[in-house]
Symmetry: C2
Subunit: 338 residues, 2 copies
Amino acid sequence: MKRPTIADIARRAGVSKGAVSYALNGQPGVSEATRKRILAIAQEIGFNANSAARALSGARARAVGLTLCRPARILGIEPWFMGLISGFEAELGAQSYALTLQVVASPEQEVEVYRRWWGERRIDGVIVTDLRQNDIRIPVLQQLQLPAVVIGGSGEPSPVTQIWSDDGGAITEAVRYLVALGHSRIARVSGVPDLLHTQVRTKAFNEVCTSLGLHDAVTVPADYTGEEGSRATRRLLIGGDRPTAIIYDNDVMAVAGLAVAQEMGLSVPGDLSIVAWDDSPLCSLVHPPLTALSRDVSGYGAQAARELLNAVDGKKVGNVKAQTAHLTPRGSTAPPRN
Amino acid sequence: MKRPTIADIARRAGVSKGAVSYALNGQPGVSEATRKRILAIAQEIGFNANSAARALSGARARAVGLTLCRPARILGIEPWFMGLISGFEAELGAQSYALTLQVVASPEQEVEVYRRWWGERRIDGVIVTDLRQNDIRIPVLQQLQLPAVVIGGSGEPSPVTQIWSDDGGAITEAVRYLVALGHSRIARVSGVPDLLHTQVRTKAFNEVCTSLGLHDAVTVPADYTGEEGSRATRRLLIGGDRPTAIIYDNDVMAVAGLAVAQEMGLSVPGDLSIVAWDDSPLCSLVHPPLTALSRDVSGYGAQAARELLNAVDGKKVGNVKAQTAHLTPRGSTAPPRN
DNA sequence: GCAGTGTACTTGACCGGTTAAGTCACCGGG
DNA sequence: CCCGGTGACTTAACCGGTCAAGTACACTGC
């Protein structure tokens, strides 16, 4: 089956292919009657512009790129990324942009992928996740002048548009809630310490704990995986003065922490309260269901995609603050038993 | 920053761009010395062939497409898809093919996306998941002559290459294991009944149960979500003659089932044994860890990508049988308490 | 000494769009 | 009546590769 081209339309409409191009792109230069006729023919023969030809002649590639730099085993289980991707799609699909995905092993590889994509003119912009301090990707994106949005920065002024949320505020709310329930020994199991948003959360956690007079508030770094979540939880729970509440930086580690508590014969929430960051169906799935810091991950992704498309269109956009995660209390938090 | 083109290389090497093309593609027509020189220049200036230009002149687009037709909330939590995607990437990345993703709401939309991609010449082939009986996508793919591989068919002769695994054999093993432990009332919570692999599993489950004399073996259909998994489990457990073991078609529903059992005060595995299909870190995360039918999802994906690239290269490939899922016993299965 | 055969290139058409520049008919104003 | 302006097109160059066809030159064999 032959792919229809604008030449086919031109022939059937009895006009030149230039006229067809103008008609299809809503440009002036054709009469309304001709435009209608051309659009009808395009519709009839199922025409779709060859994206290669379009990209080649200087126009958009109509695709954006996303690199994921996490080991496969954690990518699979973390609902976060898929939620984000669904959000991108909702927005990109509506404007018939494609999403090109690449799983990589390191930030260096991400940079390589950006360079390749840029050279190949394969994409019009990229979505950057897992921002680090002095992230090596940012200068490269600037050098290549590749439109980009960063998901989850700190919200500070940045050369690249950021979609950020007030993680500090969210964690403060969680700590306040636990304190209100009567907890005074609160610990935290964090994500990868290199990531900027982990640092933001850690700073806010320390600040609120200090201001509330919780002196032994400790953060144990982990890496978002269940294994590390379990390990960190065990470390916290075997200590003499064990915490009565733990806040986890993602849902996977929180679920793992719950299992460790159960395995050690501790009751949740009786002996230990648990708060998960990033509410996902996973949190409501386990018993007891986990109190979580919820946000609309998919909406977050949609917003990022929207801003990226704006940036691609040359509209200069500044940082955008997304909805702050809010506490959704469920069965895993309660006043501590004495 | 200007993108380097073959013309830039040609100028620097003092040859024509045709020669550069031959050199870069390993074609005969240039001397070894010239080829080396050209490759060195390409390397030096960081040349990447413009994928649009390449695709336009009849060559490959060097991209494959994947559509995901599941609601966002289930996509996010199911480790299966991300595992699969990681597997694709491992293979595609190695051959510097890109993966283009699109989340859709219905098989009809998937067909539309295929047509659009084909018209746009955006991709060289597609990966098809969630095959149904008389799947409407298959004739379209044939009509468009779009290379494709289907993941998770029945293994029966098919117009489109299938990567399949012996799900019947796997479920038979699981049932035999439970019977050997002493169970006689075994139920199953299945995935979406329309999907071909669900039907294969249901058929095999019924057959092995009949052959082992288990007459009240029932399959409750669900949809892979935690909510449905919980509901199905409750339905099974409130009945008078409740099962002592349940096999779930995915890990998410199994985890949900575990929570329901705990919530109802039933001990797992004492009162109820649980087997999950598709082992993922999720299964080892909960307490007790779930006995699962494991397979190398990521390897499965890699194999599919490999076959697809073969199909794109015009090599005719037949159905490929992947590794059969094997039982990984963990803490959620034990002999039933009397 | 010259036809025949390679090898190592060059040339230029082509893929299917976009778009600047050109053409032509028609209209209104001076 | 002619001129300038505008609308509705057409023409053709261009994007950056690929590849068939053409060319130049060396070598080989009789």
